[in-house]
Amino acid sequence: MTTYNLLQNYWWLIMSVLGALLVFLLMVQGGQSMLIHYGKPDKRALLINSMGRKWELTYTTLVTFGGAFFASFPLFYSTSFGGAYWLWMLILFSFVIQAISYEYRSKPGNIYGSRFYDTLLLINGIVGPVLLGVAVATMFFGAEFTVTKNNILNVQAATISQWGPRHGIEAIFCWKNLLFGVMVFFLARTLASLYFINNIDDEEVNASQRHLLLVNAGVFVPLFIAVVVVILTSPGVGYDDGGNMEWVAYKYLKNFVAMWWALVILLMGVVMVLFGIGKTLMKGDYKQGIWPAGIGTVLVVMTLFWVMGYNNTAYLPSLLDVQSSLTLRNSSSSEFTLTVMSVVSILVPFVLAYIAYCWYKMDHRKLTSDELDHTDEKY
């Protein structure tokens, strides 16, 4: 394997870490989708202030995920974002309305009233995870696009990446993509319950979240099994050393077999998620379930990214022209750029360390109604 290929693989690993952290942090969106269950203003305030101290991390991870994709695999940025226009625009709108809602909802003079902003949070809580799931699912199940780099020489029609006429709407209504998106949504809600149980010191919220955890995990687990079965039985696009691509039956299953270590990590992740959920449900005083479930989620998502892109697999198959499919080899930045960014990436552990430290400092005392009653710094 050449140095260039190693760098491409390394950056796919970074993308998988960022993607996995993003899915974990979608617990904020999951929590927002639960506002519908809380009518009492003081309980809503507890939930919102608990999530409100984390929403920026989710947001930043999404932005960094996009930026890192742009930098390391610009052809994906160009093809998927420019092609699946409506899909990405809906995702972006849902995050725009989230960004201001926390800050504005309880401020005097917010014009539209706090219920309006809570509704926006609810919309983002549902639309965000579902559509992000749909977008990631297209990377398994393919999308309607072609890539012709020589188009740049055509003065009249220079666009390199062409997408089908519905520009992402078709991806939303593909049942496999939607199944994936709904699964991500219920995962986000499950993680949110575990987070609230850990972060909020309130008996009523604790009891209601344990009930919601049972319901959401009860939906999530079968959905997750269904998604895994669909992925493992779906064809994927493989390529040879010359870059020639073809559809391969059971490609992702074969990838797990070829990369047995990824399968082991996947199973470890699944066990950790189930352990976090199960122990929280069975032991009334156990509140640490978010940590095994969160780490497990990160591990599972990382392995899904690995089978999506490693082992000579196209990570965005083209349903219109298989040779246009995007791979780590044909869509990445140059060796020089990947090297430069790899140097920068050495700082990532340092960034993660200060995030963890700040998280610990801010959360080691749990959120209570009493705290909210005695501070101005709240949402």
Binding site: K54, E56, Y59, V63, T64, G66, G67, A68, F70, A71, S72, P74, Y77, T79, F81, G82, G83, Y85, W86, M89, L92, F93, V96, A99, I100, E103, Y104, K107, P108, G109, N110, I111, Y112, K149, N150, I152, L153, V155, T159, I160, S161, Q162, H167, S333, S334, F336, T337, V340, M341, V344, L347, V348, V351, Y354, C358, K361, M362, H374, E377, K378
Partner: protein
Amino acid sequence: MEELINVVDWSRAQFALTAIYHWLFVPLTLGLGIIVAVMETIYLKTKSEKWLATTKFWMTIFGVNFAIGVATGIILEFEFGTNWSNYSWFVGDIFGAPLAVEGILAFFMESTFIAVMFFGWKKVSPKFHLAATWLTAIGASLSALWILVANAWMQYPTGCEFNPATMRNEMTSFAAVALSPMAMSKFFHTVLSAWTLGGVFVCGVCGWMMLKKRNLDHCWRSLKVGAWVGVIGIVLTMITGDTSAVTVAKYQPMKLAAMEGLYKGNHEQAIVAFGILNPSKQAFDDQDPYLFDISIPYGLSFLATHDFKAFVPGIEDIINGVSYDNEGNEINTVSYAERMERGKQLQEMLSQYSAAMNSGNTMLQDSLKNVINADFKHFGYAYLDKPEEAIPNVPLTFYTFHFMVTVGGYLLVFLLLALFFVYKPNILNKAKWAKWWHILAIITIPLTYLCSASGWIVAEVGRQPWTIQDLMPNKVAISDLSAGYVQTTFWIFAVVFTALLIADIGIICKQISKKSQTDLEIDNEKK
């Protein structure tokens, strides 16, 4: 073709709309961030609860403004992909890196420490809290650095080489990209202008509170920091503005010519201090470009080159490829007509390169690659239909530039006076005209916003029609979308952003009004 033009126009409109809204909030974040950090530093040093109250007052406004800046920022980043997909591939190898570094180094710093800054007063030590406040402000400036590096690269593409095998530009020197003269002058000019805006904002809000005779001690404390930051900001903005002008003259002479409405250049070129453009003026039509003008002799030559005698080319000179040295000797530059021709030849060669690559003819590839790279600076001209297409909107560039400079001069005087009153408060307190000073301070806030926006209009409109200077015009950079799609999202953005702006202004005004009606010191001590 008409559909293509529509898509280009709507894509530009959408990006401009998002950028303008984004820039309404970012400079206040950058400026107020520093001001709040300085205030908290004073609080920690003096242990005075009064300074704590003042810090918290401005921190609240900072938070409201920060949120909407974040909201509009995410759209900008993703629009590079959604609306400018060709661009994303053509230069993603270079442009993406600063964006990724921005995310990893700056955004996480901002987003992590802002939570500590707002909610950590009783959860972390005072020193840790102060560090968080400074890191939030520094993170915001770092974020500005990387996005401005990316923007500067579009104005002056450097540190890269075109790879005909991948049909894109690839980075060859990160240092050349990150430390280019364009990037440095743009970063300092932009961030320091944000300090100016932050300072003016504090002066304006305090002006309103003083007019209402509310929390006067708090106002004087705020003014002390605000005026200092503002004065430092405006002085350094002017110095870096001068550097920016020299950089633009060197790398984007067409933009400089448009800024001055200069069609035919001269040695010892005067600068227009005030002027009204002739609206019917077109390049090469021999009409006078101005209906009226007051000019300063030698001004433009000095501004552009720091040499009173230097030749400054006008729009027609640049198109004709004519320039002169100080002795009056003609310097051969390349005319736009020739650049278009050479651009088309390059496209031919690239087609041949692709054919050679498919047939495995590496010798031909190597020889073509050398020729392609030697002439690549003309690549974008192949897409132009006529040389005049490369002239930016002269009136818009001219008027916004002159507005920016005029208001900048006014801001220097205003902020110096504000600082003077901080140290001689009795003069203002006893003056009968104090009321008018406070009103002026309030009016100066929107004036500074317009000045700041004008700067960006000069920078971005002045470089049209290029998405990447000389390499990629807008019409080649866009995504394969229908005009109707982009038109729809444009209007959605317009409605959403306007609604958010109204809410933002409503909240900030209410916060100022509400807080100003309480005795801030006593209110703070209660907590």
